[in-house]
């Protein structure tokens, strides 16, 4: 508890310092307000978009796409990763394809995605899906490969055969490491959500950025950027908390 409070204090201090430096640079630098908005201007834009309801609408739209894309990526990637993890000979052939697709930015697929599924919620959701899919898949496969062999022995000894072993032994045994991959994928997926919303959609935080740019509202632009950052931070904090509970429950170091 004390540690959490200390953490909160550090966050407040560091943000306060950031805003202070920002304001100082603004005052000293004599920048054009339209090119480099002051924190106060950005804050005003934040309040304005909050009051007209557009910010919350965009946040809701983004979170919905994110939740669907990310959750479905996790489910599909974990399931596929478990199966490929116990079939290393099959994975040998799948792996080169995965390694080919993985370094491609999900955004590169955006034109095709729009062609195939049209505009609306789907393209951004699919971009999030792709962004989250590969890290979770690969961490699941490697998690299964790193399971203590004793669990396989125990499963065989007590007659726990497939598919039960996958669900009862292999998944839980690999789970702490899979959770790690799920955690990493969260950040990546969030980064690509905003990018994904810059095409073929009329709502969301990514759209808000593009729209503000088109209207030359740099203050709104900055407000949108800060909101993206703040939600990313909150999501990360939430999953870190979940991570700690998992480590605890699986008998790791309790702190």
């Amino acid at each position: 508890m004390k540690k959490t409070l200390l953490g909160v204090r550090n966050v407040i201090v560091s943000f306060a310092a950031l805003i202070l430096v920002w304001q100082l640079v603004f005052i000293v630098g004599q920048f054009n307000e339209a090119l480099f908005p002051a924190p106060t201007t950005a804050f005003k834009a934040l309040v304005e978009t909050l009051q007209d309801g557009s910010l919350l609408e965009n946040i809701a739209a983004s979170l919905k796409r994110f939740a669907i894309g990310y959750a479905s990526a996790v489910v599909v990637a974990v399931a596929l990763g478990l199966v490929l993890g116990v079939l290393p000979r099959v994975f040998q052939f799948v792996n080169p394809i995965v390694q080919l697709l993985r370094p491609i930015s999900p955004m590169a697929w955006a034109p095709f995605i729009v062609l195939w599924v049209g505009i609306g919620d789907a393209p951004a959701t699919i971009v999030v899906f792709i962004a989250a899919f590969f890290p979770v898949l690969l961490s699941t496969v490697s998690a299964v490969a790193n399971i203590d062999p004793i669990y396989f022995k125990v499963a065989r000894n007590f007659g726990v055969s497939q598919p039960y072993a996958l669900w009862k032994i292999i998944f839980p045994a690999a789970f702490p490491q899979i959770a790690n991959g799920i955690h990493l994928a969260l950040g990546t997926a969030w980064v690509f959500l905003a990018a994904g919303e810059m095409n073929g959609v009329q709502s969301g935080l990514g759209y808000m950025v593009v729209d503000a740019r088109n209207n030359l509202r740099t203050d709104v632009l900055l407000a949108a950027i800060l909101t993206i950052g703040a939600i990313g931070l909150a999501l990360d904090a939430a999953i870190k908390f979940v991570d700690r509970q998992i480590v605890k429950a699986w008998g790791g170091d309790e702190q």
Binding site: I150, K153, N157, G159, I169, A249, G251
Partner: protein, 260 residues
Amino acid sequence: MSLIQVENATMEFRRADARFTAFENISLTIERGEFVCVLGASGCGKSTLLNALAGFLRVTRGRVVIAGQEVTAPSSKYVTIFQNYGLLPWRNVQKNVELGLEHSKTRRLTRAERRERAEKYIELVGLSAFKRSYPRQLSGGMQQRVAIARALAVEPEILFMDEPFGALDAITRSKLQDDVRALSQVERKTVVFVTHDITEAVYLADKIVILTPNPGRIKAIVEVPLRGVRDRVAKEFIAFQNTVFDLFHREPDELVEYMI
């Protein structure tokens, strides 16, 4: 007919182009209800031999026969207890003990039957107060008791124990030795117990199989002449312990390795 028959068993492993023989020409028989210790220094292939008996590995040559059938795969008729317990950390004690009951090939137990059976064996190993605890909350000795309860719960004919007390402190170890001896008699189990500890072997076994390393071969099979509850400081106990020690002593190099 003996319960376990090992006939000219040899185990070889190929790593890259090197060939490694874990043990060779092992022949032995184990009777129903016998408590057999396989004693040897590290690297003598004793754990590999146990893995072959338990069906986790298949011998390269020769064969392993249990109850008239060649061993080709593990079975819940003979359960292995490992040095590092092999408990599932995400299950509590009760659920760990129930694991082997969830996939019974002969007859599916109902949930209530499973619970009842698990509770019986948890009580037998003296952990009734901890059945809702998770493995991480238990000491090493208690975790090994859970593993023993889990093994007994499937009512196997044979218990294979692979240096089960190797990770425990001396006091806990001697307590568990007492318990395993008592349990094996009450439950009438055949036990094959791998250890590198001469005292442990003499304390527990009806029969000791002594292996020497590189590659693992049987040096001697000795019947333990002590009966009933054994006294670790009795004259006969120490005398027999020395006899076993001397069997190792015939080859000085291996003795040195053992002492380390």
